[in-house]
């Protein structure tokens, strides 16, 4: 029997065992919590380098331990930890050191509401989708603060460009998910996935899938929306002055955001954890998320960069109009009863 507070060592061990095997602990720490997120982020960095290398007819990481350089991210991490952290003259130290931590924290926090399986969600709250978007709307302000705190020209310009881009594409991102909410009838991510049991939402909401996909590529600052990081012009954009462990934190934050957006696409459009029953549900979720992440990574090796005025014009005008039009189309679809066969 578990007694709190424990008085004997046996009771303490029983309490610890009880905590470790509880569902809450497993979901927060192991899956889909800390350990899973860290491992996936490490895997994604390796995966991106290998994938881009194959597209560009190279080989990619090869030597760092094991076949195909699988331990390359660990080697990178160790190198970055041992590098010197240079803080620019008159830069604001607490902001410089604190903002990357906040970024990793904010990238990992929305995973608390994303359902990896029917019972593999940390917090099943009724406003899950709005929570994810509230958290992602905090990124532009953090990037701006970090860019200002670096106290030098290139990061500042890169931060402003990044701010413009991310703010412009947030709105099509939000509005295109409204079609999914209309189809599912709830803002709860678990309910949205449950409503996709018979038909994935990518079929009735195809236009909003396209808009969402383009918008998240702009949010993640991946090519072809790479302007804030334009290497020949801005060195590395808003994280130019980050070196060593700070860069590692920002890097991890960016890849965690990639995983977050990919899993959002899976939850909203690709049917979450539903799949034939020979594999467990979380495995289907991870497979679909990795496929989406592949499609987000591939354009980096293929397309040239978009000009800034085309970028902003596309975000504010074209994508927004397509997303709004798709809401009307979805309302028409639902009311016409064409989707009644699939339970919508």
């Amino acid at each position: 029997m578990v007694v709190f507070p424990p008085t004997t060592p046996a009771e303490l061990i029983a309490l610890i065992l009880r905590v470790i095997t509880s569902h809450t602990f497993i979901t927060i720490i192991i899956f889909p919590g800390f350990i899973h997120l860290t491992l996936v982020v490490i895997f994604l960095t390796w995966y991106e380098r290998k994938l881009l290398a194959r597209i560009q007819l190279r080989i990619g990481p090869l030597y760092a331990g094991g076949p195909g350089g699988i331990l390359q991210p660990l080697a990178d991490g160790v190198k970055l930890i041992f590098k010197e952290v240079m803080i620019p003259y008159k830069a604001s130290k607490p902001l410089f050191l604190g903002i990357p931590l906040m970024m990793v924290f904010l990238s990992a926090l929305p995973f608390a509401v994303i359902p990896f399986g029917q019972h593999w969600v940390i917090a099943n709250i009724d406003v899950g989708l709005v929570f994810v978007f509230a958290m992602t709307s905090l990124f532009p302000s953090m990037i701006l603060i970090f860019a200002w705190a670096s106290n030098s020209k290139y990061p500042f310009l890169g931060g402003l460009r990044s701010l413009f881009q991310q703010v412009a594409y947030e709105i099509p991102m939000w509005i295109s998910t409204l079609s999914v909410v209309l189809l599912a009838g709830s803002l709860n991510l678990v309910d949205i996935v449950k409503a996709q049991e018979k038909m994935w939402f990518i079929v009735p909401a195809f236009l909003s899938f396209i808009v969402f996909f383009i918008a998240i590529m702009a949010e993640l600052e991946r090519l072809p929306f790479d302007l804030p990081e334009a290497e020949p012009e801005l060195v590395a954009g808003w994280y130019t002055e980050a070196s060593g462990a700070i860069f590692m934190l920002i890097f991890m934050g960016l890849y965690m955001k990639l995983y977050l957006m990919s899993s959002l696409v899976t939850v909203l459009f690709l049917g979450g954890w539903w799949g034939p029953a020979f594999l467990p549900q979380p495995v289907w979720f991870i497979i679909k998320t990795l496929i989406v992440a592949t499609f987000i990574i591939i354009p980096r090796g293929v397309y040239p960069r978009i000009r800034v005025d085309m970028l902003i014009k596309t975000g504010w005008t074209r994508l927004l109009i397509i997303a709004l039009a798709n809401i009307f189309l979805t309302i028409l679809l639902i009311n016409s009863g064409l989707l009644a066969a699939w339970g919508i």
Binding site: S141, I145, V167
Partner: protein
């Protein structure tokens, strides 16, 4: 089953501290940008209060709109309005003005707290067990209060156009 529910008393105290200290620092910080960051923290504290009051949608909306948009606007304006980094844009308030402000604010807060305390017995002390589900907000917005919704939309368009016209640089 080990439960991880933090008692609401502790979270109330922590949120009060965060919100009030954030508000004070927003006004007293030497650099405007630190003030803006403290204001953002204060907003997150208020969002925590909303979540504690069983209004999760409002809490998320508060974070998304205030911290996600208004703070970005404020930061942007601060960066456009500065002359040189490190130069103080806010002279120290002298003692007479400061004490006048404190008296004014203190009397106001005391008056309101007095009214609240005098109405003590007629105010409900225990929250009703049931609280509103989030799905009640939609029908209420569109069916019960449609006119304010339309007015809000018109107001938003007016504010958007106004801000655009004002901030445009004449070439």
């Amino acid at each position: 089953m080990v439960s991880l529910v933090i008692p609401s008393d502790i979270s109330f105290v922590v949120l009060t501290a965060v919100t009030i200290i954030g508000a004070i620092m927003a006004l007293q910080a030497k650099e405007l940008i630190y003030g803006a960051i403290a204001l953002a923290i204060s907003f997150i504290g208020i969002a925590g209060f909303f979540a504690l009051l069983d209004a999760p949608y409002l809490a998320m909306l508060q974070i998304a709109i205030y911290v996600g948009a208004v703070v970005v606007l404020i930061l942007f304006t601060i960066m456009l309005v500065r002359r040189e980094r490190g130069e103080e844009m806010d002279k120290r308030t002298d003692a007479a003005e400061g004490s006048m402000g404190l008296w004014l604010a203190g009397l106001l807060a005391l008056a309101i707290s007095g009214v609240v305390a005098l109405a003590g017995t007629s105010l409900p002390t225990q929250a009703p067990a049931a609280s509103l589900p989030v799905s009640d907000l939609g029908p209420a917005l569109t069916l019960q209060y449609p006119v304010p919704l339309i007015i809000l939309a018109l107001l938003l368009s007016a504010a958007l156009l106004g801000a655009l016209v004002l901030a445009k640089v004449e070439r």
